[in-house]
Amino acid sequence: MSATTAVPSLAFGPSAGRSALAIGGGALFVLLAAVAAVTLGTSGIGAGDAVAIVVHRLTGLGPVTWPASAETIVWELRLPRVVTGMVVGAGLACAGTVFQALLRNPMADPYIIGPAAGASLGAVVALLLPVATAGWLGIGLVQALAFAGGLATVLVVLAVARGRAGTPVVTLLLAGYAISSLLSAGVALLIFNSGERLAAVIGWLLGSLAGSSWPRVAVAAPLIVISFTLLLLRWRRLNALLLGEGPAAHLGIEVEREKRILTVLAALATSAAVAVSGTIGFVGLVVPHLVRLVVGPDHRLLLPASLLYGAGLLVLADLGARLAGGVPVGVVTALLGAPFFLWLLRKSVTGVGDRR
């Protein structure tokens, strides 16, 4: 944080009104998505009951007019899933935004330098071990190894890519690609030999929030929230890095150190997200672009707005996945988001939209 004072104001973002609209709209979107996801489901609990149950559990108010099973469904099944969806969506969107700025690569997503491959290998190894996977507080071996695998992979990639003159972005990308490929080969080999565990393995790889529970929220959410909070606080340095590493250094940023800090924080959020949800695609790649098309590239606004829209989008997508009979949530994120993204993209290249 010592460099903060040395950095001149890099707030080249949009007006206060537009900022308030983006953030306020995002918050409203998350709220509406959460209310929809808590009140809707396959078992047909009334929306009023669902809200009353949440209020009752939070405040103890109101008479209990619902069966115990309704309370279990709303409080133990739907709500942890919604909260997990929020933090995972927020974490992935935030990490995606950071990697896109850091690597100056529009195709960058949270998984680009390897955490997904590492987490997948960890999870698949855990799934194939002949031991019980339930574990401590619902945090099974699967989640633990996925988290460790994801984080360890990024640390290894950073170490491999680091040369005498620092860590060139291209080297980081290529090292990440190579190590991902290596780990994916391991995953493929394990899949090939997974036998009757195959369905469990594929189910994990496709990504799902179906296993969400309060204990998992309690372990993963703080990790993700801390990571993205620290990332939000570094918006000035991200703005400076957008100018290029040379100019950023001239602005007083310790570029190499900053790259490592940002990478580790984004990897921390990504690994924790993947550990509880599997590899959910699309959110981390497209939400930052989508938000950038609307609010512009200033990270003071881009990061929090991406975070909110990522959270809302994943909660909505998971609701869709649930109502559609448990299809992989990544399919739904793409189905919901891709057409909208294409529309925005067309609008901006044809000059109708406001492109900053």
Binding site: T42, P67, S69, A134, L198, A200, I202, S213, G325, G326
Partner: protein, 337 residues
Amino acid sequence: MAFHRPAFLRFITLLLLFGLSACATTPGAASPSASTADSAQPASAAASGEPPAFPVTVTDDAGREVVVSAEPQRIVSLAPSNTEIVCALDACDRLVGVTDFDDYPPEVADVDDVVIAATVDVELVVAAEPDLVLAAGNELTPTAVIDQLDGLGLPVLVLYPETLDEVYADIQLLGSALDRGAQADSLVAGMEERVADVVAAVDGAERPLTLYEVFHAEGTTYTAGEGSFLASLLELAGAEPLTGDAQGVLDAETLVAADPQLILLGTASYDPSLADAETALATVSARPGWGELDAVRDGAVVPYLDDIVTTRPGPRIVDGLEALARAIHPDRFDPDR
């Protein structure tokens, strides 16, 4: 994600193996003498002066000890085989949730589905307010789902019989859990008797090397796995099963080298184009290498339409065994039955 491709193919295969075994109602898929005499018995075993049966502690097929505190009134079954056992024990009216694959007995069509497209909807399971959940093993009910239901405090019994004896044991296990021990005993006795009849009927007959085709795709045949339930049924039915690896995978080279004498197309249960013997023979002879097989040249390729009862480990597994024995040794059975 290039590594998804071969895996996905096998995943689809798994879905086909387990999924299709329920959604098809093949024309002509006869279920010979389905309901056993035992299931017609009155459900009053617990009536006369016996000690109270509950709470009862049972050990399920996953080795978990489960306490059933009172006679279950609301049962959720997560596998068609479990449903069939419950109904054969006269507890069909206790079912409050089944799978969308369930097709037997017919009255389960009226029970709400809580497993849709091979996916357990945990919310629907909880909403059904069950006091007993019957899951399947071997990841047919995902371990994650079993853990989740456990965590919500629902009593979950995992049933996964891999031999006839284990089917009997599971029927008796449910007999204890549902306080229907007497029905379970007589149901099992009836099954054992019919199995003994089959074994006696094929006794001394030549045992043809038999390929049971579970699924076929791209030159790979899925058949009875080595040491599998299906392999043991084929043996009892008087065949020498041509087995694949532990998962039942048999590549074309191994198949051609083994050269089976008889091919039973379980796939015909789901693929109407294979149900006709002549068409089926033409189809399989066109597969690379198959034209030279003894079974194909001799025309010993039999469309087998009873795959559902043959691969569903419930009370009707004996129907499956009888159907297998008739297909393998038609000369040993009365053709009119």
